[in-house]
Structure formats: C-alpha cells, structure tokens
Amino acid sequence: MFTRRKFFQGTLIAAAMAVLFQPSAFAVQAKEQAALAMVKSIGDEAVATLADKSLSETQKQDRFEKFLDSSFDMKRIGRFVLGQYWRDASETEQTQFLKVFRDYMVTSYAEKIGSYSGENLEIKDATSLNDKESLVHSLITRPNGPPIKLDWRVRKTNDGEKIVDVIIEGISMAQTHRSEFASVVSQPGVGVEGLINKLKEQIKTASN
C-alpha cells in the first residue's frame, strides 16, 4: 500500500509541476511560433515577388528596400556592426552611420535579386536563442546543386518580430560586416567618420 500511496503522491507532484511550468513553456513556444510565422510570410512574399515576371527590375528593388525597412531591425544591426566604436561615435555620426549603412545594404544586396533563378525557400523550424530571440531554420533548394542552409535570427521588439541577422551556411552576415568595419575604423586616421565616407564611396561606385 505504501508504494501505491507514494506513486499517487508522485503523480500529484508531477501534475502540479506540469500545470506550473506549462505557461512559461507555452510562452517560449509562442515566441518561436511568431518568429516562424514572420519568416514564412516574408519568405512567401519574397519568392512571389522574385518570380513575378511582370515586375521590372526597379520595381523589385523598390520592394526589396521596403522589405528591408519593415522586416529588419536596422538600428540594432547598425549598432552591432559598429561594435565597440558605437560608443566612441558622436550622436550625429551614429545617425549618419545608420543611414549610410542602410543604403550600403540596399546596394550590396539589390543586385543579388536579379540573379534569382527558380530557387525555393523551405522553412523548417525554429529554436530559441534567449528570452527575446529565436533562430528560424530554412533551406534554399536549387534546381541544380545541393540546398543552402539559411538561418534567420529573429528578435521580439516593440514593433513586433524583426530580423536581426541572416546566417548562410554558418556564416553570419552581421558578424562579417562587423569584422570588416572594425578593421576599417581601427586603421590610423580613419575612425567612424572615415568609415562613413568609405561606405558613401562604395555606394556611389556600386550604383553607377
């Protein structure tokens, strides 16, 4: 009898635990679900836009710019890629940098849009990174060649879910830009102002 009572007690405790921990587990899942839904919707939209033959190249680029502004947390990404130099920069430099960085992203990635050739985005699942961020895993399947692994780092913000990084085959775009910018800023006599000028030059030559 004794063991049976113990068994009952055990069941009760387990049930109580389940009830207690369910809400938080549910909340965590909700965050990942929201991230997943967000990437799914933009993925569908992106593939539809790219495959739409009635749109001109400029129209596609306009849509890409809108997509960048609405789906990415550009301020956070900009601050991240400037790294330790964000604090050194004056407020004007910070605002200037954010603007130039956004334009730089547009020009660097815009021409990739033109090279679209029937790839498909297959969204898999999401894992939690911390209490605000999730990683959404997806695959770009190509007509020829093995699929490419693409992960989206999505963060819960006051304006809803925003993308803060894109990780292609384990290579973080934010990390790559940060590393490159740090190297430029730390060169003697360059600084944040020099970086801004270099980015401006880059945008000019790329858009010609």
Binding site: N130, R153, D165, E180, V184
Partner: protein, 265 residues
Amino acid sequence: MGLRSKSSYLKAGLTAIALLVTVSGCATPQQKDGKAVAVMYNEVYDPLEPMNRYFFDVNYALDALFLKPVAEMYRGVVPAPVRDSVTNFLTNLSQPIYLINNVLQGDLDGAGDNMGAFFTNTFLGVGGLFDVAKLNTPVEDMGQTFAKWGIQEGPYLVVPLFGPRTTRAAVGGIADYYLDPINYAAKENDIEHAGLIRTAAHGLDQRSRSIEALDEIEKNSIDFYAAIRSLYRQNRNNMILNGASNSTQLPDMSFDDDDEPVKKD
C-alpha cells in the same frame, strides 16, 4: 621506399604537432583590458596582420595573373559534366584521409560514409569519376581534428600561394599530407609529382567554382582582406561543427542588458 623514410615522415608529423601546440600556447588571448580584449580575440586574432596583408596582396596578384584566367579558361573550354567528374575524382581521392580524420574525431558514422563512398565510387563510379554513392561527405582535415581535440586555432595566417589559414589548419594541412594513404600509394607506384598535380588540380577546381562568389565579395567590400578573414574563420568553424547549428557561435546582439545572454548549450 624503405622503412627509414617512413619513420622520417612520422618524425616530421610529430614535429609539426609539437610546433602547433607551442604556437597555440603562445596564442592565448591577453586579458589586459578584461572583456574587450577577450571579445576582440573571439572575433579575430591576427597579430601578423601587416605581413598577412602583404602576402594577401601577393596572392591576389598571382591569382589575377595566373589562377583566375586559367580557371576561367577551364570553365569556358571544358564542359560541365567533365568538370563535375574532375571534382568527383578529387573528392574520391580524398575519402581515405577524410576517413582517417573522422576516426580521429570519433565520428564513426562519418567514417562509414567515407568508406562506403570510396568503394562505391571507385568500383561502380569508374575510379571515382562519377558520384554513385551520393553521400555528400563533408571535407575533414587534421585542422578540424585538432580543433575537436581542443587545440586553439592560433594566429591567422595568409600563406603564400595557398591563401588564408589558421595556424592550426596550416599545421593540419602538413599533417594531412604525411598521413594521406593516397600519397603513399602514389609513391609506391612511382607516380612523379602526384602531390603537386593533385594540389594544383584541386586549386583549379575550387577556383573555377568560386569566380562569381569571390568577385561579388570583392565588389561589395570596403576592406577585402578583412572580409575574407572573417568569412574564412566563420566557414572553418562551421566545418569543425560539421554544419550543426550552434547558438554558442552567435554573438550577443542585446545592448541594454534587457534580456538574457545567448543561451550556451
């Protein structure tokens, strides 16, 4: 070949490993300014930057003069199926050293795939010209094995002719050469310059498949050297993890301490 030369290979290999351990020991990050230095170390450890930039420029010039034009010609003249067969053949020759490294890393499933791919493609795929097994075996080298063993990556290097390497990967590459059964088989059969030809063919194969990607990185970067350095190191880490998504790799992107740090698992 005699027993003596075999033992001298072993000696060279052991010396290389000893050198690596010494170098990686010297390369422990300095904790002078506390956190900032440690973080910078995680991003990049490049104490030889001026020399590396010099060799980067030398390699860039050599590439522009020789490798890239030859790679473009190769791609323009040789039809795609033949080029695929070259890739398949070179990958098949690498399966034995991949297998050795998978065993040394304790990845027996990976080693089994290498074994299966090697025998299937050698016998059913006409000496490795066709990938019949379709096992998509990832590249495994001594640099990755050293990483699995916990050896630090050491300073970043740009090796003349060969390009970017971590010190760990550079020493690993030498170790791979002396461990690779294919190189011994070539020696036994008196095939001259086998290693050189294989390396050159591998370089050409790789270069011909990365023309657009590299051009684009160069075009969009404001510091090509730093961009390549970051991409190389991230790609190496991805190879060491065999592509498994790992959140510990991702940097923290919260600035206001308003959330927990990235979960380390």
